[in-house]
């Protein structure tokens, strides 16, 4: 899947080396207050059962791609010494394939597994292989997150995973290059288009940014920001595919027009040529997610101090809205023989403050918990690479502006791959982007129907 869209997962793998230097702080036993309060609801698991399960010798299997996650898991096993956790890092593309194989053969599947927001539905479709965590989680869990994050994991009558990290989108830009070209940081997309033209006319060999024909994930995030809700799934047999509505056409035409005019480049991203181009200043900005800043530090180290972060340009100048690009959860499989302990693992590492703060400050996963998004050790970190800007603070603000209720199809793999053959191809060939968008829509509808879905 080397050509799969540019995802957080790849980013994590590529920065694994950088983050592994994070020092492990010896955990000194978690406080007892994380244990969920006793519940009266009929469906909730009684606290006594949880206590019993957590005091029973158990081995859990946990599949993840997050580097150094053993540090967070250790906090958990220190608190619950009778639980042993086998960690398995399957790396990039193989993760979901291996999960599907294990689920299908009903053996060797993990108890807890990493699942990105956009792939949850591909595991709830049909019989469904994810455990609804509602009875295992404290009823107040919802209050720990912004609405848009909660809506990514809690839908169709279930809580399908515990959020771990997210990717609210902002604009990363080269402060030096823009000011050399006399360009203000664009506030609206119209400004951005004008800036792209100015920038390219002053620097014929470089561009304000690149429109990657292979980055379906980024384009979907643009749609998210523009208020387009192209996908939904009712959890049963009905999907909505609405990629070619007027709002979406506007977004496709916006990028397509600049590519056709030659004011933006249209090279594939996530490969060596693209990394070099970012490092040598061919691109003066990059609309990227909250995981972008650390990513750039690794790939464009020699441009340190020259980057800044701002809000994404807006469609409507009177409001500030962002989209989200990437993010993942820890989910529990129905096949797990120890669902209580498995659910507690997923809950603990992602909601225990010490553990969640570790993810944010040592592995640079952009946090989802309100508690971390307001934590001073996280917010006040100054990034030399960004000229001392408090990048986390900026993205924490952006996170509050992400619009809620963005749904996903149960087959996003196909949707992203097909992007390269339709809309992405239109970008690459400089042909009509709106026609490309329509082709994308048609292919996704056809696939959905072939797979037996009712398409609305």
């Amino acid at each position: 899947m080397s050509s799969a869209p540019f995802t957080r997962r790849k980013f994590l793998l590529s920065t694994a080396a950088a983050t592994s230097s994070a020092m492990f702080l010896a955990a000194c036993g978690g406080g007892g207050e994380e244990a969920p309060p006793a519940q009266s609801s009929a469906s909730a698991i009684p606290q006594s059962e949880i206590d019993k399960a957590m005091d029973t010798e158990t081995t859990l299997t946990f599949w993840t791609w997050v580097p150094d996650i053993k540090n967070e898991v250790k906090l958990f096993t220190d608190k619950y010494p009778k639980i042993k956790v086998d960690l398995l890092n399957l790396g990039g593309g193989a993760h979901y394939q291996k999960m599907r194989t294990a689920i299908q053969s009903r053996q060797g599947a993990p108890d807890v597994t990493q699942v990105e927001f956009q792939y949850i539905n591909s595991f709830t479709v049909g019989e469904g292989s994810l455990l609804d965590l509602t009875p295992y989680a404290p009823p107040t869990l919802k209050d720990s997150y912004a609405d848009w994050i909660w809506s990514q994991v809690n839908f169709n009558g279930g809580l399908w995973g515990i959020p771990q990290d997210s990717g609210p989108m902002g604009l990363l830009y080269r402060e030096d290059l823009l000011s050399d070209a006399g360009i203000e940081v664009p506030k609206t997309w119209d400004d951005y288009a004008a800036a792209a033209e100015t920038y390219h006319s002053k620097n014929p060999k470089s561009y304000l940014t690149n429109v990657a024909p292979n980055s379906g994930g980024q384009f979907v995030a643009y749609l998210w920001q523009a208020g387009v809700r192209p996908f939904s799934f009712d959890g049963k047999e009905t999907v909505k595919v609405d990629l070619a509505n007027e709002e979406a056409k506007k977004v496709a035409k916006f990028w397509g027009d600049m590519v056709t005019a030659g004011t933006l480049s249209n090279k594939p991203d996530g490969n060596d040529a693209w990394y070099q181009a970012v490092a040598n200043g061919t691109y003066a900005s990059w609309p990227a997610a909250a995981w972008g800043p650390v990513f750039l530090q690794g790939t464009a180290a020699k441009t340190s101090g020259k980057w800044r972060t701002a809000d994404l340009p807006q469609w409507d100048a009177s409001t500030v809205v962002a989209g989200n690009w990437g993010g993942s959860t820890d989910a529990v499989l129905k096949l797990s023989k120890n669902p209580i302990a498995a659910a507690q693992l997923a809950l603990f590492i992602n909601t225990n403050k010490e553990s969640a703060l570790k993810f944010a400050n040592e592995q640079f996963l952009f946090p989802v918990l309100n508690e971390i998004l307001t934590d001073p050790t996280f917010l006040n970190k100054e990034f030399k690479f960004y000229g001392g800007q408090k990048v986390n603070e900026k993205f924490a603000q952006i996170s509050e502006t992400v619009s809620p209720d963005f749904g996903w199809l149960p087959f996003m793999d196909y949707v992203y791959t097909n992007f390269q053959e339709t809309l992405g191809k239109a970008f690459a060939d400089k042909t009509d982007a709106v026609a490309g968008l329509q082709a994308w829509q048609d292919a996704c509808v056809k696939y959905a129907k072939d797979q037996g879905f009712t398409v609305t």
Binding site: V125, N271, A277, D413, Y414, Q420, A428, D450, Q451, G452
Partner: protein
């Protein structure tokens, strides 16, 4: 071998067996039979486990359909009917046919040329040359493709830089028409050496008396090459052609890796094998992928058979 023939012979004809009592003879034979079976057993176990079982399983999969909604149901030959009218699959097969017609003759032609040159004994540094031509075959296909991918690179590759310096712009390695030739070049680079070694080995086994006789008759080296050497290695040539046909239709690694560099030029169905892979792992349709793989196998068998048939006819005619 003698043991299998032994039982058919009259005992009297063989002095050594005649004096032995029958039961002991059978025991000895049994031991030998046993040893023979024991020796081929590992092969058959692996052959059945790794070839026959997966093939049967793939065949079994190919007559079902599995949908995300509705699950698995028997489909008979529906997947095959879909495949033979699937434009993506057919375009891929056609693209590989074009690839075959252009690339294989170039590759075999060059391999033959090098083999003849080395065999002529008139070259200096023959051993070094032979090794140099063969070395690319020892480079794994993945590494070769990554290397060529870098060389082809439209932004930072050396060819692009030379082209830009000369004011010609980067060469069109990754354009929709250029890509097929770029891949052909990689495959040539990888496999000329291999085919050369096969042909060279065949040339070494031609009896030198034939050359002497030809020279006595006044044949030139060219004439010897054309009339003795090439006909003499017909079997080797046929072998390399058939391997190349199979290799071409199974093309996967090179396009799969070049996809990261040119994702919109090499689509999910650029080659039939790539298509089957994407159908299985992106579209999550293992059943249809199995049918595609079977059909591809049939196409390869038909073309290999035609190549062999053509060669046999030629032989009969001459």
């Amino acid at each position: 071998m003698s043991t299998t023939v032994g039982s058919a012979r009259p005992a009297a004809s063989d002095a050594s067996t005649a004096i032995r009592p029958r039961p002991r003879l059978t025991a000895a034979k049994k031991r030998q039979y046993g040893a023979a079976y024991a020796l081929v057993l590992p092969f058959f176990i692996i052959f059945i486990a790794m070839m026959i079982v997966p093939l049967v399983y793939a065949g079994y999969l190919s007559v079902f359909t599995t949908k995300l909604i509705g699950g698995t149901s028997f489909a008979g030959l529906e997947n095959y009917a879909k495949a033979i009218t699937d434009p993506l699959f057919l375009t891929g097969v056609l693209r590989m046919a074009v690839f075959l017609v252009i690339q294989v003759p170039i590759m075999i032609g060059l391999a033959l040329f090098f083999a003849l040159a080395l065999d002529s004994g008139m070259m200096k540094l023959a051993r070094f040359t032979r090794l140099s031509i063969f070395v690319p075959y020892a480079v794994p296909g993945v590494v070769a493709t990554l290397m060529w991918g870098y060389l082809y690179g439209p932004d930072f590759g050396p060819f692009a830089q030379i082209g830009t310096a000369l004011g010609l712009g980067p060469p069109p390695f990754f354009t929709p028409t250029g890509m097929l030739f770029s891949i052909m070049n990689i495959v040539n680079w990888e496999f000329i050496g291999y085919n050369m070694i096969v042909l060279f080995a065949a040339l070494r086994s031609i009896a030198p008396e034939l050359y002497e006789a030809a020279r006595v008759d006044g044949a030139s080296e060219k004439r010897i090459a054309w009339s003795i050497k090439i006909p003499g290695i017909r079997a080797g040539l046929l072998l390399t052609v058939i391997f190349s046909v199979i290799g071409t239709f199974q093309l996967f690694t090179e396009p799969q890796l070049l996809r990261t560099l040119a994702p919109t030029v090499i689509g999910t169905a650029y080659t039939p094998n790539l298509y089957a892979y994407n159908v299985a792992f992106v579209n999550q349709d293992a059943n249809y992928a199995a049918a595609l793989a079977f059909l591809l196998g049939v196409v390869i068998m038909i073309i290999s058979y035609l190549v062999q048939l053509g060669a046999q006819r030629k032989e009969r005619r001459s």
